[in-house]
Subunit: 368 residues, 2 copies
């Protein structure tokens, strides 16, 4: 493992004091901000996430706020997903594409009103793209990064813990919907969402002083009876569940269709989307390579910090971008981009890890 040199540029979050007190062991950098990656061990965190409940500092999912008469129009320019039917209090996972259909980010859009949106971003300065588009197209909209820090509550006991702090109303929040519920007299946006398949919530926590650490402490206090621990997005669990990571599994070289995100694209109807023309052809005929689950034989693979080639009969047919050993499925679970000649479920391939070539099988579905 490498050592990370601290600096102000790698921003601390409003929860960093809590994260340190909870014994964080490692970080990554995400949107110029610290994101914890390990507390006890990746494996121990994994088992606990599936059994209990965790509190995650995901303040690095920075928000971009769109506000003004053209906010809705701008939001539709950014994505091939048709937003016309979207209601206030809904959250939509929205691939964001440039004029060539290349992925720039895969955030969650939160509709606070027809003229008011938040975009909860993955790791790229999407603010710059949205500000550039708003300026160039002279839209009547304010685009900014508000002082809001998401805090995720994830795991099977999330509903119980959240109900103890916010009341039973939290149990009625539907998947990818939000409600505003009070904490110490301040209404907070609470969505049923999060970067795991174990269920839970994301709380959009405003400000720097007062609320963030008071909420953090209240959740840990209430969570004692549920064996609450500090946690973070878990490499193993997110691969099992097929949750993609922008920058790892996809870049601006990829279309949403290659990323298996075609179901979030209504390219024909997404009038106004900047990438629509470029995507119409691929929307009709389909991509020639696509994200797949890949099952890698043998003992636990090492950390995947660069693309691993995937070959068949000595010819390159794809590459792996994320991989980890799954204790529950007793195999190495992986994510990769595979060419259409070899993406059928059950296709045998080889994966070139730094420790040697391994047999592997392409799967159509993720594990969970």
């Amino acid at each position: 493992m490498a050592v990370l040199s601290p600096s102000r540029r790698l921003r601390r979050t409003v929860f960093s004091d809590g994260v340190e007190a909870a014994g964080v062991k490692a970080y990554t950098v995400y949107n110029h901000m610290l994101l914890p990656t390990v507390f006890r061990s990746v494996q121990e965190d994994y088992h606990h996430l599936k059994e209990a409940v965790q509190i995650w500092d995901v303040a690095c999912e920075r928000q971009i706020e769109l506000r003004g008469p053209d906010a809705g129009r701008l939001m539709q320019m950014l994505t091939p997903r048709d937003l016309r039917g979207m209601l206030t209090e809904q959250c939509f996972y929205v691939p964001i594409v440039d004029e060539t259909g290349g992925m720039l980010n895969d955030p969650v859009a939160v509709k606070l009103g027809d003229d008011h949106w938040w975009v909860s971003i993955a790791d790229s300065d999407l603010l710059y793209w949205i500000k550039g588009i708003a300026n160039g197209w002279r839209l009547d909209v304010l685009v900014d990064e508000p002082d809001i820090s998401p805090l995720a509550i994830q795991g099977p006991k999330s509903d119980d813990l959240m109900a103890d702090v916010f009341g039973d109303a939290v149990r009625n929040i539907r998947f990818f919907r939000y409600k505003k519920l009070d904490f110490n007299g301040t209404p907070l946006v609470i969505a049923r969402s999060g970067y795991s398949k174990q269920g839970g919530f994301e709380i959009y926590v405003p400000g720097h002083d007062g609320i963030p650490m008071a909420l953090w402490n209240a959740l840990f206090e209430a969570g004692k009876k549920y064996d609450v621990h500090a946690g973070c997005p878990n490499l193993i669990e997110r691969i099992e569940g097929g949750l993609l990571s922008y920058g790892n599994d996809m870049t601006d070289d990829n279309t949403p269709h290659e990323c298996g995100l075609g179901k979030f694209c209504d390219t024909h109807d997404a009038l106004g989307c900047i990438g629509r023309d470029a995507l119409l052809r691929v929307a009709k005929e389909g991509p020639v390579q696509q994200i797949r689950a890949i099952d890698i034989d043998g003992p636990a693979v090492g950390l995947c910090d660069r693309w691993w080639d995937v070959t068949a009969n000595g010819k390159r047919v794809g590459r792996v971008s994320s991989a980890a050993y799954s204790p529950d499925y007793e195999t190495n679970v992986a994510v990769g981009m595979i060419r259409m000649t070899h993406w059928e479920d059950g296709t045998a391939v080889q994966v070139h890890t730094p420790d040697g070539v391994r047999d592997a099988v392409v799967r159509e579905k993720f594990w969970k």
Copy 2:
């Protein structure tokens, strides 16, 4: 020191194999890419940089390429620096501002021709802003991240080492100019520039295979007689020299004038610059806070990983964003943003470090 979890998203560079073999001890993340921060120790690297010559993997200074009939017009839209007199083979340090005059990046622009530019960026996805502007204003220009990785040669013996590898022509390259010189039959853009005050060059190395590590190895081989070592931007040396760091010392909250970059702004004449209207007032009247060198009393301060308040008579008058103990100047050198009431040379202030309050003095000039 924290541990960094490797992943593909934190991109390795074309020189990473060499960096690892040279014994890198720590990294930061810069433009989603690994940037070494320590080889032997920050202090040992510092002394060596001032005495000998170092080879720096600064591939993370990613390039943005503008190419096409509107490339020059687009470049001028991005910056308040007047580019009309700029010649091919020149490099300009260019503050990049948004429509409010807020700094988005402080790159070096390299003019390859009237319709062909490279922008060598600091740590933000400036590509997204430039692509958004180009799209919104419907400019006739291609904007992309080419496969080019800067390699810096820094230190007083840089000319000798470079002459051994590229011939004596390299000695005639003027400051912030470049020439194309051959390496193994491939012409490389070599500029006299770099993120230190010790002199040296930046080589714009194309591609992934072949040239990058061949050049790295050739430089180390030729450099033996100059005591060459792998190095990296040095925290102490860059503060002594007043080299600012985007994200540390300035953000999009700041105008170039606040950052002491007024000399790179020709706001009145920079017709077409998107931030011109917003900057005209501040260009005329001056900013109310400005970057200053700050001399902090007492023993070596700890790592500055968050803003440290600067106060006078109990009132906040600024904040420190970077600090380190300087062996050569036998004091703690620091960079901070100071309000105009207290920015005069010699003003006594207090700096609130995590280890306690220290007496400090505001300086108008940096140490070197």
